[in-house]
Symmetry: D2
């Protein structure tokens, strides 16, 4: 068992990390960090648990640590659910102190020697870890993409060989994507907010890095363009994407590509039975009914129509955040970087 910690363990993504790690077969959750004023108190006393999954009793009495290298002694791997404002520095500190960092924060995602990884899409980018070590980090940083980017990339992966060049995506994103208190009820109830700060830029740039080619220690951007329009909708969990991609293949071939997709690895504990699930019903997938498929790790696709148009959907705080990071860590371990 590898001793692990969660940085920023009380927020929406932090709680998901705790839920996914409390009974993990490979990782032993021994450290939970939070802000200074919570340090020293029991996790069960400082966290306002707001997931509908039951609170994991195992961590109730764990003493909360401050968010610093010192506070996380004896930990080999940390998962970062820190806000971007502080993630950059803290994650740097940890990685230089010899700790592996799997981060959900955006701070390091676009740095050239930091892999931005989705296991099903670009497991090979983990090779950048060696580069980081050459540059003097004792540990390393591996990041996972922005939530909506993950759903998009997983859905595009089976179509990669078609050589598409033009992707348009309109998102309908859940309120949990902004954290427990990021969206005021008055702003989203009976409403849509057709704007999420920085989201479109992230989808457009991160996708190209993730689906890009690692050559000579550098990631070359994928040879296509993404144009995104991002919207917040009154849904609790689950991002829904309407995608257009200039695939010339017939509908049957595209469906077959989704149906037969298999990731180039197996046996990761967080890995769903099916990375992609194709729906043939005309009105699926739907966030309330389908977000928890594969324990929240499956990306559901449906409504494959000429154009080529389709719908993709996934759980934004599991597949799109904490689960993404945990599965990255599992992949890293099987690839012997840990």
């Amino acid at each position: 068992m590898i001793k692990v910690g969660v940085l920023g363990a009380t927020g929406a993504v932090g709680q998901r990390f705790v839920q996914l790690l409390a009974n993990h077969p490979w990782f032993d959750l021994v450290t939970l960090t939070a802000s200074e004023r919570s340090a020293g108190k029991k996790y069960g006393d400082v966290v306002n648990w707001k997931l509908d999954a039951p609170f994991p009793e195992k961590v109730r009495n764990l003493a909360v640590s401050p968010t610093s290298v010192k506070g996380a002694k004896g930990v080999e791997l940390v998962f970062s659910a820190l806000p971007a404002e502080i993630a950059g520095q803290v994650e740097d500190d940890f990685s230089r102190a010899g700790v592996a960092v799997c981060s959900n924060a955006r701070s390091h995602r676009m740095e050239p020697d930091i892999p931005l990884v989705i296991p099903e899409v670009n497991a090979d980018h983990l090779a950048l870890i060696d580069l980081q070590r050459d540059k003097g980090r004792d540990g390393f940083i591996v990041t996972n993409p922005n939530c909506s980017t993950i759903m998009l990339c997983v859905a595009l992966e089976p179509l990669r060989s078609t050589g598409f060049t033009d992707v348009r995506v309109a998102t309908m994103q859940a309120i949990s994507g902004a954290g427990f208190s990021g969206v005021a009820a008055m702003d989203i109830y009976d409403n849509i907010v057709p704007y999420i700060g920085g989201e479109e830029e992230k989808m457009e740039s991160e996708t190209l890095k993730i689906m890009g080619t690692l050559e000579g220690g550098e990631v070359r951007d994928a040879p296509f363009q993404v144009s995104a329009s991002c919207h917040r909708v009154p849904v609790i969990d689950g991002h829904t994407l309407a995608v257009w991609v200039d695939v010339k293949d017939g509908i049957a071939e595209v469906k077959q590509a989704f149906r037969s997709y298999k990731p180039p690895f197996s046996g990761l504990p967080t890995q769903p039975e099916r990375s992609i699930e194709l729906f043939e019903q005309p009105d699926r997938p739907q966030p309330r009914l389908d977000r928890m498929r594969g324990g929240g790790m499956t990306v559901s696709v449906g409504r494959v129509r000429p154009g080529l148009r389709f719908i993709a959907l996934g759980h934004n705080t599991i597949r799109g955040a904490a689960g993404a990071s945990v599965m990255n860590a599992e992949l890293i371990r099987t690839r012997k970087y840990l």
Copy 2:
């Protein structure tokens, strides 16, 4: 004052017609029709008024008529809020009996000699009325488009001269678009249904007819393509559209086109002060805050970004249904067809 009636006056669109017509300066609402079992009773007793606007007392004691030519004697013009299953025949009957029909139903929309009209976009198509009369109708039928199509066309009109050829649109449509009982709460609460039967087809075909060219008594489809992805979201009123269109003009020019747009007519009672309102704030328009602009008749646009991408929004049962029909009737009257 022209004596008018509403066919199918108890449903969601029917009630909007009643609301808009009860105190109309040009039209005298004298007839309300409903199903056989309501005929003869007072409108106030049979209608389950579910609009948040107050019930118009003026029509409380109006006796409901059966939905037939006989039932609507003395009426020069009827507004049809009938379901498509019966609208086709009933509207035909009325028009052959010398009555003008302004219809919100889809039944006749795509027939070659029936104008499918949005005043701001193709007022000239009303010339098809003459054709109908030549073919022996004493009255005539004028239709208005499907709700989401209207928002799209009004927003595209100022860009028409750019010669775009490729339109993609993802809709986020309100539940009132399916009528008072069309969407079950269990199906849409905390959820999105990424499918609305027939809606994408309507947006793709109706738009081409509306923005097409009337030549020699025939409408030639507009020379561009529309690809739509339609989704039902948990919003009560107001359809939001994320639009891509291959306009090469700069953002400033496009904004200016929206800002300076003026319809080729004025003085219609239902006409809003501005047909199009451009928002510069990054997070607008929003359905709850902006659907009632211009009395529900303004189409709000915003987030004009390179791509070219923008958001369009309008009230689906006012601008997108009853209000559309009423404004068509007002236009018809000023053009002397009534």
Copy 3:
């Protein structure tokens, strides 16, 4: 393993039955009935599965039977999720044909020789089964109460010994209580409907029977009064009750009564670890966070205040319907009626 069936297996409660029974340790789910036009088809093909729990693959290929004694041959026990309109006759038929019926329908609830049972409250009322047999039924009928009544009775049970006489309860009931299509989205979104047909009457009469005394083969109504005000709110699952009861005990004693409550049986598979969970936080229980406690079978109570006032909450289609019936059947089996 006892062979069991579900009558009316495609609706909201029917699906919950299937979910709870598909992998039950004591019951072997072999029969699913539905309307005539579904009979003969595979369950997986006719059901529109709308629970967020995954569809139980085990029953996908089970052939649906018509809802009749003939259609359910070989079954010892049936769970009835039938609508009240047909439940009365069908359940009678089954019980006379020697089948045990655990019913969620209201049809037989108030009949003198039919037990209306909540295991924690009146397990002894099962003795009425003998009476039924004496009257010539080969099988028998046991009913569970209306959903909101169950939450109320479980919460009142630990206070029974205080001898209260006056109960007031205002309910905030979830939309799933009306079935998948019972509440239109337009009627409940951004809204409350302060009326649920027949609900107040059920709470007021059923509670008295359930908490009444079985003496000489008859249930004498409990010696208190219930006054209910029932309201539908925009919540998917989980009924919340604000309760007043004229208990003179101090708050500490009442809390202790809730905390120390233990049912007079143990080891039922559907029985939650705690029948009642007491919350000390000022703002709990809440339906979204607490409805699934104890697998949806725990009744959560909180906000115990002078008055005596408290909040009670439970999952309406699990504890309040299908789970109630299944736990009744489990109790029946341990009491050797099966």
Copy 4:
């Protein structure tokens, strides 16, 4: 025209004040105050207008003042939408500087010489103003009650003569009651929060003062008890109350009392045509459909049942806050205190 100002003009209640006062026939809105950092800027530039009513263009260019007596020179009357933390001191300052203060804040409500007024219920309590003047204030302070208290008191007023002694009320309160950002979407969507800090205490104490008797310069508490259970529900605007009151009169008499209720004054601009509207339909009033009756100033009642139980409903930021204050000011003026 009396020159007036709004203290705290950018929040949820502040914006309602601005909406109600921008075109008021008696009051000339000349001053809008906000926090220091907004002072000097145009109101239209600093306010994030979030009401669905259109922004009143008249005040777009009004320069925002700091919230101080100095900042509001030349104003005879101010409406206070300040948060309780600062309202106490600021309102004191204004009243001592000779300005009349109509306050929605709770700070001074329970002080013996400050009237807590609902025009329909205790207009006579305005006599306390004289007392304030005797004590050396040049101006005075008049407060309006907490939002849910107002609906309760207006509904109880026609029953006052029955001599009831026991009131129980369960509230279902809208999210706007907590201001624009007071409730996070994650906390209320698909949920109920059975707790609103301080609300039950306010309903229980304020009601007694409002319905109390002014004698010898003192208000004697009304001779009954109120027991409240307050809950936040996912509704945007409109508080719904389930009320029990020990009235022995028959249902018909009670309905008649509601129906025939007339306030002891008339002609106030904000006064609705009917202070109380009685519904006979079994499922009304409902917040979405009925909150805007009488311009948001009518209290709707319905479901009068034995018990005595009934439902009361009103718009919480109009009748329950800004509109309450404005109508108080109108009453004050007709009573010559201004």
